[in-house]
């Protein structure tokens, strides 16, 4: 349903007082391909600065796309402008990370949720208010919430308001950018369950952007791992977590702590050295080579392409086969 091809988002670096001269570019997203089928959830994981949020924003056209195409059904989102874009956005809505700053503090909840309904002329007159109440029901908030203001709600409840606002436009795709990371641990599960329920009821398609591999494992059907603007591995969720092929995925998985001392004591860890390189000046060849424990000379010269190693399992590493053969298991999956 959603097809992204060779998406690139470069932010110019500008210098000079009088003549703004472009001296370089931050390659936030550098050649990303994604496909999401109807009713599926794609999890996009990576660490901060890898470009995962920029991909989400580029799909909703909140940041300018440098090159590449974003196609949604038969609509070419990447080439639309003005009112056409606004109409198309009804189908693609976004849930933001921070439930504190993404709701207007001076608007009451009813009017926040009613805004997309009015903008897209989905209901008229009294039917708008009725629809707002239905939406509040579906996200598990009391109907009285419509007359209250965002500050009266807790983080989890605000995130529910954000979800209701996204649903108000009756979208088929929802881009959820870190929807639970600002919430307390005991509240995260409530929001995750709500998203799963809504997906079951409304047949929604999700692009779930998160740094939390455990959350993505729980909710996603397919997972794509990003590193420094590119996708390094893409596979069905269960395959990716049990048989990671890219050394970065392996390291990521082994770095996630598991709340079970028995598992923790038995795990083998691949601790990566160093930090993420600057996306303004990415390393030559394979982007991950500066931190990769298996890097060889070829990695510096040749950029590995994302290739299908097993059906449905894509990986961008020259040595994926060898690594798979002599693998160290990151986690013990029971």
């Amino acid at each position: 349903m959603l097809t992204v091809r060779d998406l690139r988002v470069h932010f110019p670096i500008i210098e000079g007082l009088l003549f703004n001269r472009q001296v370089g570019a931050v390659r936030a997203v550098d050649g990303v391909d994604l496909d999401i089928a109807q009713g599926e959830t794609l999890g996009l994981v990576g660490e901060s600065g890898c470009g995962k949020s920029t991909v989400g924003k580029a799909i909703v056209r909140l940041v300018p796309i440098t090159t590449g195409t974003v196609r949604f059904g038969d609509i070419e989102l990447s080439s639309l402008e003005g009112s056409q874009l606004r109409h198309a956005r009804r189908h693609v809505q976004m849930i933001f990370q921070d439930p504190y700053s993404s709701l207007n503090p001076r608007q009451n909840v009813g009017s926040i949720i009613a805004e997309p309904i009015r903008t897209h002329d989905l209901r008229q007159g009294a039917a708008v208010g009725q629809r707002v109440l239905e939406l509040l029901d579906s996200v598990g908030l009391p109907r009285g919430a419509a007359n209250r203001y965002p500050h009266e709600f807790s983080g989890g409840q605000r995130q529910r308001i954000g979800i209701a606002r996204a649903l108000a436009a009756e979208p088929s795709l929802i881009v959820a950018d870190e929807p639970v990371s600002a919430l307390d641990v005991s509240i995260q599960a409530q929001v995750i369950n709500l998203m799963e329920e809504l997906q079951g009821q409304l047949g929604l398609t999700f692009l779930m952007i998160s740094h939390d591999l455990a959350v993505v494992h729980h909710i996603a059907d397919t997972v794509a791992v990003m590193y420094l603007g590119g996708i390094v591995e893409k596979a069905a969720a269960d395959t990716l977590y049990t048989d990671p092929l890219h050394p970065y995925t392996l390291a990521l998985l082994s770095a996630v702590p598991v709340p079970d001392p028995v598992v923790e004591d038995q795990r083998q860890r691949t601790v990566l050295q160093g930090d993420l390189p600057s996306p303004a000046n990415p390393p030559s060849g394979c982007r991950f080579r500066t931190r990769c424990p298996f890097a060889q000379e070829r990695c510096a010269q040749e950029q590995p392409l994302l290739r299908e190693l097993q059906p449905g399992h894509h990986v961008a590493c020259h040595f994926a086969e060898q690594l798979a053969a002599e693998r160290v298991t990151a986690i013990i999956v029971r």
Binding site: I192, V256, E264, R269
Partner: protein, 333 residues
């Protein structure tokens, strides 16, 4: 491990009072001991009082509007009644702290070297001449490459993980007996978190330093701490050795937390969230603060607050109806 604890917190109460509002009990009768060389985990959500406890130990809470009572003894000496001068001799020298956000806890206008040598000189650990060498050694120990050059860097020139390493180097500069790490990895990415945790563990293991690791992440605690305290609404609700605590949690809050966190090593299943939010608490004076969110609540829970009593597996639990059956993680094979 000796039997005498180096740090002993007894019945600590911290109350915030602002004009026109009722008093807020941030910490409500917390007691625990820290022994030399051990790693103690304190787990809780925001508002559970875990950070306030650590600030109280170091005497870093503001004076105005805050009442601290109880006792905090370092090697038998009371810290709560200590003078500011006495506290200054303790902070950084005997008890050091690593804060959550390395950007806002380092001084942006001083070089890393200056901030490191400041601790060394302040506590008279070495002379002014030796200080740069000592500082470079410390940076080297926390795994910062080309340490000597880094001394001249300002915090903004370092990445998040590097800054946290600098914080750790500053904390360890005087080889303290106790290191309090308040959410040391929360602001960091997972791969960097793994690096920093590994560093902290290796530094603590190789010395007699005790570490108090404060976090909201059960996973971090499971892999690192010897003993774990779970806090809820200002009190310790369950504590014990990590293997026992995770294998057989008795308190419904601990169980709820474990069942609501998605786990990397388990497939499928629906998460069982804890209903309500951490704000839905009642005062401990009226019964168990967790009662409004507890699945096994009865009328008894609302009479008087339960005490922290020993349970079968050597853990301690504060609950009227401690659970006995194993946690169902809602998992399919």
């Amino acid at each position: 491990m000796t039997n005498e604890p180096i740090l002993s917190v007894n019945d600590l109460h911290v109350t915030f009072q602002t004009r026109g509002t009722s008093a807020l009990r941030a910490v409500d009768g917390v007691s625990f001991d820290v022994h030399a060389g051990e790693t103690l985990g304190v787990v809780g959500e925001s508002g559970s009082g875990k950070s306030v406890t650590s600030l109280a130990i170091l005497g870093l809470l503001p004076k105005r509007g805050v009442t601290v009572s109880g006792s905090i003894r370092l090697d038998g000496k009371e810290l709560l009644t200590a003078t500011e001068r006495q506290l200054q001799a303790v902070r950084g020298r005997r008890i050091a702290m690593v804060f959550q956000d390395p950007m806002s806890s380092l001084n942006p206008v001083l070089t890393v070297g200056r901030q490191l040598t400041e601790v060394l000189l302040r506590h008279g650990v070495c002379t002014k001449r030796e200080a740069p060498d000592r500082a470079a050694d410390l940076l080297d120990r926390v795994g910062i490459p080309s340490a000597r050059q880094r001394l001249g860097n300002y915090p903004h020139q370092l990445s998040g993980g590097m800054r946290q390493r600098v914080m750790i180097a500053i904390a360890l500069a005087c080889e303290p007996e106790i290191l309090i790490a308040d959410e040391p990895t929360t602001a960091l990415d997972v791969t960097i978190q793994a690096q920093v945790l590994e560093l902290l563990m290796s530094l603590v293991k190789g010395s007699n330093t005790a570490m108090v690791l404060i976090t909201h992440d059960l996973g971090v605690v499971a892999g690192t701490c010897d003993r774990v305290h779970v806090m809820y609404s200002g009190r310790i609700v369950e504590s014990g050795e990590r293997h026992h605590l995770f294998a057989e949690p008795h308190h419904h809050y601990t169980r709820g937390l474990l069942a609501s966190v998605p786990r990397l090593d388990l497939v499928g299943g629906k998460l069982t969230p804890i209903p309500g939010s951490p704000r839905d608490v009642i005062d401990w004076a009226d019964g168990c603060a967790f009662a409004p969110r507890c699945p096994s609540v009865t009328e008894e829970c609302l009479g008087a607050a339960p005490d922290l009593v020993p349970a079968a597996n050597g853990c301690k639990v504060r609950c009227v109806h401690p659970a006995t059956e194993p946690v169902s993680l809602g998992v399919t094979g």
